[in-house]
Assembly symmetry: C2
Homo-oligomer: 326 residues x 2
């Protein structure tokens, strides 16, 4: 099960009850942070509210809010930070966050990924937070790059903003089902099953047995995508295709704000919904709202009329994604 929490859902400037857009994903005790604007470490520490009523108009509550489960999310477990782009509202919280991760006891290396010119930010961060008790490793990614984390793989796509910006997909692969009946039929001793199950070819009485013989078809893993800040691009629907969850920016609700969205490289709710529909994702969460948008729920119908399973994200909204029954 992969857990995801929106840490903040604000664009440009933090508001008292809407921190800057950032999300954290946890899988098997390893946490991946996406973006780190000022206040991210503060919002992450906020005590969980009692579960808020989901005011989604879809009525679906499959990924219900469960703050209790999240209380154990620590800083120390953050092993990776993915940066979408180098605007301050997505990076200015890095020095404090990195220090706090150190104060929480992390001594293992931490990986920082982001678009070209990330080195400048690393230098800036090091000027403000020169002493970290762990190694800060960093790498600039280009569109199409893929990175293997523990149990997850991360891919990225260039999107269209006022400076280089990456959308990310996190994917948890699922192993193929092992067929014990078939293995018994083939007379394979149970001692060898584990190796076959993990994809290894084994030898039995001089005969090579491939895992293909005892494994079912490929199975869908868990796919979570995160896209902000960007205009809709032609590549996005394919990039997010069949994701279990797409977290996508919705800077503006009103269609009247289209010129603004076009001018500053952002999206309307309806444009995010179009991507979700075209990409056939399972669920869409909106985030990265303009400070001028006081109640995102008000404009939610702009998205749900195109893609019904859309939710207006809010700070500390949390969900869990599981492998689907097949």
């Amino acid at each position: 099960m992969l857990d995801v929490r929106l840490i903040g859902t604000g664009g440009m400037t933090p508001l008292p009850r809407r921190f800057l857009a950032s999300a954290i994903v946890r899988y098997k005790g390893v946490s991946v942070l996406i973006d780190c604007g000022e206040g991210t470490q503060i919002s992450l520490k906020m005590p969980g509210e009692p579960a808020l009523p989901l005011r989604s108009r879809t009525g679906e509550a499959s990924h219900c809010v469960n703050n209790l489960k999240m209380l154990g999310w620590g800083f120390k477990e953050i092993s990776t930070i993915l940066i979408t782009h180098l605007h301050a509202d997505h990076i200015a919280g890095l020095p404090g966050m990195l220090l706090n991760i150190g104060n929480s006891g992390r001594r293992e290396p931490l990986l920082l990924y982001g678009p070209e010119e990330l080195w400048r930010v690393v230098e800036g961060v090091r000027a403000i937070a020169p002493h970290l008790p762990y190694q800060l490793e960093w790498r600039e990614l280009s569109s199409g790059d893929q990175v293997d984390l523990e149990g997850m793989d991360v891919s990225c796509l260039s999107v269209e903003h006022s400076l280089p910006c990456l959308a990310y997909c996190l994917h948890v692969p699922r192993s193929r089902r092992f067929n014990p009946e078939r293995a018994s039929e083939l007379g394979i001793p149970v001692a060898l099953w584990g190796r076959l199950q993990s994809g290894e070819t084994v030898e039995l009485d001089g005969v090579r047995i491939s895992p293909e013989a005892v494994l079912g078809p490929e199975r869908r893993g868990i796919k979570l995508c995160y896209a902000t800040d960007t205009r809709p691009t032609s590549g996005l629907p394919d990039f997010v295709r069949e994701a279990d969850l797409l977290i996508c920016e919705g800077m503006y609700g009103s269609p009247e704000d289209l010129p603004k969205a076009e001018g500053n490289g952002h999206m309307l709710f309806s444009e995010a919904a179009e991507i979700a529909r075209a990409g056939e994702v399972r669920e869409l969460w909106l985030t990265h709202y303009s400070p001028s948008l006081s109640d995102p729920e008000e404009w939610l119908p702009e998205a749900t009329r195109i893609f019904p399973n859309t939710r207006a994200g809010y700070d500390r909204m949390t969900g869990s994604l599981s492998f689907r029954e097949e």
Copy 2:
């Protein structure tokens, strides 16, 4: 009247209801920010709570909390930022703050002052927030330096922390009282009074008249001092002497934490109170609490037994300092 607000009162790491130690001072529409840890811009935006009951054990309420008055404090008016030292919990909020000041419409230069090596921080800030719509001027200060701001002068003193650190005093001078009776006796026409009042020597029928002839004695101005992070030093009582308000760190309340305070360059409540007493200040506000100190009020008697007019500062605590009647 000089207004002062504690933006945050936390040391080391921001807590959900205790942001990092920072203060803002306003005089005649010009604001001076002291320190800028992560979240300072967020805390500054927080809506004013209804005036909290002052739980001070002194019973005095001369500088009462008035949040309404503070609602008009904007970012644009911040003309100067004073940095005590270069630890991240005092500077990591600079990129976001400087951007926000720009977004608020400031186009006049902004002055950043701090101790030696400030240039490194300026470089770091510029890496994270490269585009500001105003000029960022900066200057490294040494102990004893004095800076004239509009209507205020600022002096600084080296204090004792794990790296170079400055305490600041802000002083609003008060003009001497003009004696109109004396001016009439001397036959000085009213047209010349203004020049004499502002300290100029005037000439009347070939006779030079010095302002001394018509001005009363020197008058006490308003003095506000801010000292964190530091151990008590021998120079502090003189530096803060007769201040109307000393805002001083109190990292720990319990006397048992003295070894920790000595080890990491901080103070106990009682040590801050000793400085206030020795310096004969009018009032002491404690700030910069250790995250381990959950209720500073609990330890307030440690300070009030030494200096009764001590208050345990809290986030957004606000006061006003006026010229005293003489």
